[in-house]
Amino acid sequence: MTMNKLSLIIKREYLAKVRNKSFVIMTFLSPILMVGMIVLIAYLTKVNDSQKRIIGVFNESNYFSTDFNTNERTSYIFFKDISLQAAKDSTLSLGIFGLLHIPDRSSLEEVAENTFFYSKEPPNTLVLDLLEDIFEERLRQGKLLDIGVSTEQFAAINNKFEINIANFTGEQNLKGINEMKAFIGGGFGYLIMMFIIIYGGFVMRSVIEEKTSRIIEVIISSVKPFQLMLGKIIGTSLAGITQFAIWIISASLLLFVVFLVFGIDLTGYSEQSVMASNPMSGISPLPATTDTMQLYALELLQIPWVLLISLFLVYFVLGYLIYSSIYAAIGAAVDNETDTQQFIFPIILPLMLAIYVGFFSVFNNPHGPIAVAFSLFPLTSPIVMLMRLPGGIGEGGVPLWQVIISIVFLIVTFIGIVWLAAKIYRVGILMYGKKPTYKELFKWLKY
């Protein structure tokens, strides 16, 4: 009978949510908005990329005569035999980005030191890097010439070099693969955070609605407050999962359609994969990029997806239950939504912290002390641990003991928080007409 009542509550909460007009609108509008955003960003980036930057160069020295070459992003206009002021004026009147003035001096160093870049708006680092690279290159070459290295010799040693990285079993590692893995884990973590904030809020509002409509006492004369709270959380999260599923499916369908319509080249990728699966590819000399692509693909396939997804479910369920029961307790404590702000902030804080720590610390060093600490701390572990997990468990990945400890911490916290939240909820739902302080909430625990 108890189970029966719980399932009744879950069903009602689910239907109440799913039938809600704004929920339905959000469910079907969001994917369109999301895909629209992606398309817009892609379009804007393309427009931005195709814009060429023109820089005026007024070179009075004997150096750098061959160094300013037009490429796809930047082109140069050269001024000759005029005064600096005239060059500045023409730059302004032409409306080009800026003017690089290289004065006439006796040595390369002096020339470089007295070079100025004039522009209306301060230039970004991309532009400066480009120009500075040219100067650095020349200065280096000049110094090498001074110690007797010829220009040809300099060209010969000026190779690009990337270090090869491997783990101890001899498998080749790829540069940036850690970041990529953390990014995948970060995606899962981010999903959890979004889910908690959106549907935790729904749980809270649903509790407030029961309080303000005064139905709460009618309900809890039939069921235990804890049953109601649990049913509400489960029902709301099922509605949330439904919404997320619709979002993911319809957004990926829409993206696919958009790609087809806008003719973004998907075939290029498939060709590569055909070649990768071709047994002849081992013999035929492939371009290096395809080789690397293949390695990345292999590496991604080696991510323990089953483990990752099952642990995602564990962290998701526990993390969500912890946070949503806090949300339920807040909803019970207040009379209207405007009073919730002061209580919500402390909940959002660890979530934000987890995301920031994840993106700044775990990306650089997935197994460093900060990453480990935050992946054990129960309020941040669902997010941070998931960012570390794509590296696998055990050697080279997260040590097994850390996973076990973080889950144990999470379960203990889950029990503790749900117990506390249920107590606040039980007292709060029957308190009308006042906004409690933290001190009062603490007192309620003893009622």
Partner: protein, 340 residues
């Protein structure tokens, strides 16, 4: 030796207590739907119920009276197992109160409402099922009640479209639908318009006739006085008075009578009897020759007074003025304060 004696004494004491308890239970539980024994409840440092004991007989209407904040709602919430007492116990129909008794109690809280965006019928079904009715059963009973209270057309409307009176009818239906043995109404008539209040009152009386026990809780004592057979007065978390309303009134009446006489020379007569009796609020109407006054008799023996009066005038009315529950409450509180 001493120890032996002590333990003997102890065991004797225990059996005595047991005997007293079983006797108490026999007397109090067989015919009572609800017995509260020494129920105490504190919220933090605030006392909500202080050692309150009540006996609510089966098939009666019981008034739980007292001003706001006296502890009525707390007691009702304990009966509904929404909160639990710090000490003391509640016995429901001869058994210690258990979660399964919830299905046998119907409760209309003071703070009552419905889900605004849910349809009326769906909501009533949901609430009935939460009380343990099967869906088919609930459906059938709801149809009966909806027709009876003439709100059948509203089944598929949303609650936010309902008038307040309509919503209250639905709340009432949901409260009584599962045919509980005990019905508890907290401030039942607040917010009802007079017509709906009467409809609901009639239905409650019919339910009582079918054998249901009913508790009314209110601070507006006059609103339920005529309905209640038993009352308990709560004040500052304590029970200050309880019992059969008739008995209480008998105890609290002070031999005051309202007298209406028809006679000539009423003023002279009034002077005459004023010497012998304690007369107040008198009035003589010359035109109708009607003399009205209130008299306080020294004993409840009215014969001497009536003999005197009937010799001089024809008696139109002679009514004992019985104190209202409100008067009784005020008197009791005053007495209590005087004692302290």
């Amino acid at each position: 030796m001493v120890i032996c004696l002590l333990s003997l004494l102890n065991s004797k004491l225990n059996t005595n207590i047991l005997q007293i308890q079983s006797k108490y239970q026999n007397v109090t539980c067989m015919n009572n739907i609800l017995v509260a024994k020494n129920v105490t409840k504190k919220y933090g440092n605030q006392m909500a119920l202080n050692n309150v004991s009540l006996v609510i007989p089966k098939n009666s209407i019981y008034g739980l009276l007292g001003p706001n904040g006296a502890g009525k709602t707390t007691l009702i919430r304990i009966i509904n197992q929404i909160t639990y007492p710090d000490s003391g116990e509640v016995i429901f129909d001869g058994e210690l109160l258990k979660p399964r008794h919830i299905a046998l109690i119907g409760y209309l809280p003071e703070e009552r409402g419905l889900y605004k965006s849910m349809k009326v019928g769906e909501q009533a079904l949901y609430l009935a099922q939460l009380k343990g009715l099967s869906k088919a059963d609930a459906n059938q009973k709801l149809k009966y009640w909806f027709d009876k209270l003439e709100i059948g057309d509203w089944w598929n409307r949303k609650v936010q479209e309902l008038s307040k009176g309509m919503a209250q009818k639905i709340q009432f239906i949901v409260t009584v639908l599962h045919e509980p043995k005990l019905l508890i109404f907290d401030e039942p008539f607040s917010g009802f318009d007079p017509i709906n209040a009467n409809i609901i009152k009639d239905e409650i009386i019919k339910l009582k006739e079918k054998g249901t026990s009913i508790i009314f809780s209110t601070h507006r004592m006059e609103s339920v006085e005529e309905l209640c057979e038993y009352i308990a007065l709560l004040h500052n978390a304590e029970k200050i008075l309880d019992g059969r309303l008739e008995d209480i009134k008998k105890e609290y009446k002070n031999n005051m009578f309202r007298v209406g006489l028809e006679m000539e020379n009423g003023e002279n007569f009034l002077k005459l009897i004023s010497d012998k009796f304690d007369i107040s609020s008198s009035n003589y109407d010359y035109n109708r020759k009607q003399l009205d006054f209130t008299v306080q008799l020294p004993t409840d023996d009215t014969r001497a007074f009536l003999a005197l009066v009937s010799a001089e005038a024809s008696i139109n009315n002679f009514i004992e003025t019985i104190p209202s529950a409100n008067d009784i409450f005020i008197q009791t509180v005053q007495r209590k304060n005087d004692n302290e």
